[in-house]
Symmetry: C2
Subunit: 290 residues, 2 copies
């Protein structure tokens, strides 16, 4: 049980966290700050936060738990804004989709208090953003990856693990590098592919007519293409090295399949499709690898 | 109202059509044939068909409406099997995802009776196949594309249009070539990309561990990767020329975005993402282009 949550960023991710913490009875009071005053005000009106803070620093003041729910590119500046009030007894977390850059920023800015920081990535989201879409159930049943470093305090790591589990999440730990490589494959590259597909279609002279014919498969495949451009620009830039590595492997598989189709090599093409189809048919979200 | 439906192929698409026609009171009797006798038997046990036919030809005998719901690659052989019983008063349709090859097969095999054939592509499906998944609601609210040719009888085309509308579908007509180009973009290429992504991930040494981290975005993006390998092999082969054209445009958009990410050009990268995001945010399934 925490006394006071300092919430920096009252959008979809931060707002949903505050709502879930309150509903679970895990926090008494939420003090929130958002870059846009209208967001902070809206969050208070909705009951997502109890008190509006005029700055990130003041949101941290008096908190025993702090959540940074800002675009990954704003992480370092946010750490700088709050560093003077971060203490050894405080649990500080983020919710960023990339972890190496966040860990680097924490090391560089928080220095002696980097042990209070537990890097976190809840595998949850929506293709819409903003506090209006905040949802106390957003994290329930989802996976949360914690990527502690050598200086992370065990006590804060345990608090973080217990907290996410109390919100109904499945928690696992891995190194920041391992996290970024895996998420380049299962999240960042799929977003890039969905963006690229919609971009390629709408750029054609008949693009709008073509798009109007998309069915249920197109709908699901491109859902993530509606994601927030600034947020995803930052994620793709931040994790570009792993992204490019994963993209190369994807491009090889794609080029092979296209060549087989052009050559009319149905047998080999079917083999490649069958491997993908059988893999995906047996896949279940949140199911551990065997 | 039809007297007797001759259903060739009692799988997901054919079975769902029979169930929908029966529920709507549009047909009195369904005579079904599937390549696999166990499928035909199962279809009869489920009430999808009323009578099992021992051959495609006998399924057509006495029918006033015939539906071919077979893999596109089997269309020509199926036309050959039934040609001697196709009459000028019969409405013959298919449900294939490609139309040029189907139209070519109809011209070549049905000859004088090609006017009875109305090529149809209902934009509906599931990532699972087989009669056990047949669903009377599969087509409801979906788009159906009819691609008549110059010899198509107007009377059959009108019957086809009225029938699909009675099943709750939005019907539009276009040329087979236009259909195939558009569906390469919104259906065949997305399937290929989903297959290629899952193939590329599972082929990595840590593939299974990586896949276990996929969240809701990965789930939706790759849903179509679980599709039937033989069916999609045939679709990709059949429409390979349009597919390759669309793939080239996609590969250009993807390569541009990767280069911008590698160069750290956030501004241009965000522009490309924003075009995709705004396009997809405003897109609604089945909504006509403006």
């Amino acid at each position: 049980m925490f006394e006071q949550l300092g919430l920096i960023g009252c959008g979809l991710m931060g707002g949903s966290f505050a709502l879930a913490m309150k509903r679970a009875g895990l926090v008494k009071r939420v003090v929130g700050y958002s870059k846009s005053p209208s967001t902070t005000e809206r969050a208070r009106q909705m009951g997502v936060i109890d008190v509006e803070a005029p700055s990130a620093l003041l949101a941290v003041s008096g908190a025993d738990i702090v959540l940074l729910a800002v675009p990954v590119a704003a992480t370092e500046a946010t750490f700088k804004a709050i560093r003077h009030l971060v203490t050894a007894n405080m649990l500080v977390m983020d919710v960023g989709s990339t972890k190496r850059d966040v860990v680097d920023a924490a090391r560089k800015v928080l220095r002696d208090h980097v042990g209070s920081f537990v890097p976190a990535h809840p595998i949850a989201g929506k293709e819409v953003s903003g506090v209006d879409h905040a949802d106390a159930d957003l994290y329930h049943g989802k996976q949360v990856i914690l990527t502690p470093i050598e200086k992370t305090q065990t006590v804060q790591l345990q608090k973080a693990q217990a907290l996410w589990e109390a919100l109904g999440c499945h928690v696992q730990q891995m190194a920041p590098e391992q996290h970024d490589a895996a998420f380049a494959a299962v999240s960042h590259l799929p977003h890039l592919l969905a963006f690229a597909l919609v971009h390629a279609i709408v750029s054609q002279p008949q693009g709008k007519e073509i798009l109007s014919l998309g069915g249920p498969g197109f709908k699901d495949f491109t859902r993530i293409a509606a994601s927030d451009p600034k947020m995803w620009r930052d994620v793709l830039l931040s994790n570009r090295h792993e992204l490019v590595e994963q993209a190369k492997m994807f491009q090889r598989s794609l080029a092979n399949m296209l060549t087989l189709a052009e050559e009319g090599n149905g047998e080999k093409l079917e083999e490649m499709i069958a491997l993908a189809s059988s893999t995906r048919s047996h896949w279940r979200m949140g199911q551990k690898a065997k």
